[in-house]
């Protein structure tokens, strides 16, 4: 799976460096498409096809909902990222490499997937932690979940109920985040987490 692994990694890095929310959403959705392809290729029984279907539904629902949200909450000026693209790209690669070095071998069926899983987690954490745009923060969480989906596909044995449950949970969390994003946009005039700093001790 070297080819798909590089595609997933490249799309993940794209989410880190791009400024436009639509591009970031496109990259996360494209990752889900790649994952669905991988899952479909490996599916051998009804349960695995069901888990693949759940992944596809998750990708479609979130792409549509977040696409609508972006179109309904257009910022008059794009919410600037506090770090330059090159710097956050370098940080993401550094964090990914550090995580790959720190975490011992996972034991996935395909060993080439392991660094990709860890890098996607690192990229997602960085995006969620450093981005100011609320919708991009959610995309960071989804990037982490995409990494987890890749790992779940490569686990020996199948637990389709859990994988279905993860897909449902991720959809729910993302939908709730979507509701918050829209309300924050209405309340503060921008989907900018920098405005959320009134609660301090």
């Amino acid at each position: 799976m070297t080819g798909p692994a590089w595609v997933l990694l490249g799309l993940g890095l794209l989410v880190v460096v791009v400024q436009r929310r639509t591009l970031a959403l496109g990259a996360v959705s494209a990752q889900v498409l790649v994952l669905v392809g991988l899952a479909f290729a490996d599916a051998g029984d009804l349960h695995e096809f069901a888990a693949t279907g759940a992944l596809a539904v998750r990708g479609t629902v979130l792409a549509v909902v977040f696409g609508l949200l972006i179109s309904r909450t257009r910022d008059s000026r794009p919410v600037a990222h506090p770090l330059k693209p090159l710097l956050r790209g370098a940080l993401a690669v550094g964090l990914g490499l550090a995580l790959t070095w720190l975490v011992p071998p996972i034991g996935l069926a395909d060993r080439t997937a392991e660094p990709v899983v860890l890098c996607l987690v690192a990229f997602g954490l960085l995006v969620a932690a450093t981005s100011r745009a609320t919708i991009v923060q959610v995309l960071g969480v989804l990037l982490v979940e995409n990494g987890m989906s890749l790992a779940a596909l490569q686990l020996p044995g199948s637990s389709w109920m859990i994988e279905l449950g993860v897909a449902v949970d991720v959809i729910l969390i993302a939908l709730v985040a979507g509701i918050f994003h829209e309300r924050i946009f209405v309340e503060f005039g921008a989907g900018d987490s920098a405005a959320l700093r009134s609660l301090r001790d």
Binding site: P104, G140, M148, L155, G165, I173, V176, F180, S198
Partner: protein, 492 residues
């Protein structure tokens, strides 16, 4: 066995059924249905809890459901906290001026979310599988985030957003730990990670250690352990008061039980001392971070939130010590904390009606104008501070003694010092809140105007006092019982 498991399944289904019924039936029945449904769920929870505790030596464990002594205790606590939360909700809704939805649908939306949240909470201690437990904890986030932001105010949105993003990221990290474990567990797949198969992990112990650290760091974000507790004061202070009670007295301990089960399951693989040291580290950090905030003049709900940080730290220390005395202390502490914290949030609705400024700043002199309110706040703060002879004073003594029993005198000593500082901080708030002013200072209308939820707060203060006194008796008897052995064994 089947009956007990079946009852546990019915218990989780009950609030879900109430949520569906409330959503479908006309609005005029919403409150009655919610309150009636809560009574049924509360009674079921107490029954399941009683059965589990009465037969603590024989836990029921399956692939998907586990019911042991610790889980039984939590189910009882969550059931009763949920019941009180629903009972005081009409008073909260009567005073709510805004929400995420239109006024006409406010109560329906609220009760549906509360019941879904309650169902997920009740299911967490019953989960027989690490994967299922993760799913349920994640489900609590989806329901409770909307409740945190329920008022729709700018500050509530901020609190809800922080809670959602921080806990989702934390749970993502925990999921990575679960994947690491699943790859090395016989049977494979996320579904193979039952509490009883965790000790049979066949992979590299260093991988298991990394997985354990990822799991605990991820769960810490949800439990509110320092240093990943940032969402806690904000969410507790902005959520509707009945929801804050559920967050503090039910959610945090329920997720803490998952962390405890991970420790019990992985200790044979990574070493018991290592596994417990991680819990002790989180416990000490949490109490140490909470102490300076407890000494400050904070708004009532934020003060209670920092107290949650302290008490989740104390419980982590008790589990980390792992000795019989410490675990007896944990059981008493968990229960007494739930009683006091529920009372603390129940008084919020009448308190805010009496002093709206209490939402943003410390309150003083309530005793002079509202003795009933002051009594509730006093019982709450007196208990949370560990004022002798409150059950939390006894449980903290048990946990510290348990630290010595476990051969950790320095950590037990540090714990005692930190708890003494926390006591001093909260004692100041206790004095200033309840007894600083005299009645002559309070205008007549402040003392006589009707307050929403005041009767409930007064009644609960009386009931809580009786329960807390009974808990002191229980704490003297508990260390010598089989229940502590059951806590030590867990689901194994």
């Amino acid at each position: 066995m089947t009956d007990r498991i079946l009852l546990a399944e019915v218990l989780v289904a009950a609030p879900l059924a109430v949520a569906v019924i409330v959503a479908c039936l006309p609005r005029r029945w919403t409150t009655a249905l919610a309150v009636g449904g809560a009574a049924v769920t509360g009674a079921l929870a107490v029954t399941v809890s009683g059965l589990a505790l009465a037969d603590a030596a024989h836990p029921r464990v399956g692939s998907w459901i586990a019911l042991d002594a610790a889980g039984g205790l939590l189910v009882g606590v969550i059931g009763l906290v949920g019941l009180v939360s629903v009972l005081i909700s009409p008073a909260y809704l009567a005073t709510a001026t805004s929400s995420l939805v239109a006024d006409g649908r406010r109560a329906t939306f609220y009760y549906v979310l509360v019941n879904v949240f309650w169902a997920a909470l009740l299911a967490v201690p019953l989960a027989g599988n690490l994967g299922t437990a993760w799913l349920l904890v994640e489900a609590t986030t989806a329901a409770s985030a909307l409740l945190v932001g329920f008022s729709g105010s700018a500050r509530a949105l901020e609190a809800g957003w922080k809670y959602l993003i921080l806990t989702s990221l934390g749970l993502g990290i925990a999921l990575l730990g679960i994947v690491l474990l699943a790859a090395g567990t016989p049977g494979g797949g996320l579904g193979a990670l039952t509490w009883r198969t965790l000790p049979t992990y066949a992979g590299d112990p260093s991988t298991a250690l990394v997985a354990y650290l990822l799991l605990l760091v991820g769960l810490a974000a949800k439990i509110g352990w320092a240093p990943v507790h940032n969402w806690l004061p904000d969410a507790h202070s902005q959520a509707p008061a009945p929801v804050s009670a559920l967050l503090s007295a039910a959610l945090l301990p329920a997720v803490l039980l998952v962390a405890w089960r991970c420790e019990q399951g992985l200790a044979p693989v990574i070493g018991q001392t290592t596994a417990r040291n991680v819990l002790i580290g989180f416990g000490l950090a949490s109490v140490a971070v909470a102490v300076p905030f407890l000494a400050r003049q904070l708004a009532w709900k934020r003060l209670l939130a920092y107290s949650s940080l302290e008490h989740m730290g104390v419980i982590a220390l008790g589990i980390g010590f792992g000795s019989p005395l410490a675990l007896a202390g944990v059981a008493v502490h968990l229960t007494a904390h739930a009683v006091a914290k529920t009372l603390g949030f129940v008084v919020v609705t009448p308190l805010l009606a009496h002093r709206p400024s209490a939402a943003r700043e410390a309150v003083t002199g309530i005793g002079g104008s509202r003795p009933v309110l002051a009594a509730g706040m006093g019982v709450c703060l007196g208990t949370l501070s560990g004022l002798p002879p409150s059950p939390i004073f006894v449980s903290e003594l048990l946990i510290i003694a348990g630290g010595f029993q476990a051969g950790r005198p320095w950590i037990a000593g540090a714990t005692a010092l930190l708890l003494a500082l926390a006591f001093l901080g909260l004692s100041r708030s206790l004095l200033e809140t309840t007894a600083w002013n005299t009645s002559a200072d309070a205008p007549e209308h402040e003392r006589t105007a009707a307050l929403p939820g005041l009767r409930a707060a007064g009644a609960l203060a009386a009931v809580s006092t009786v329960v807390l006194v009974a808990l002191v008796g229980v704490s003297a008897w508990l260390p010598a019982t089989d229940l502590v052995d059951a806590f030590l064994k867990g689901v194994s």
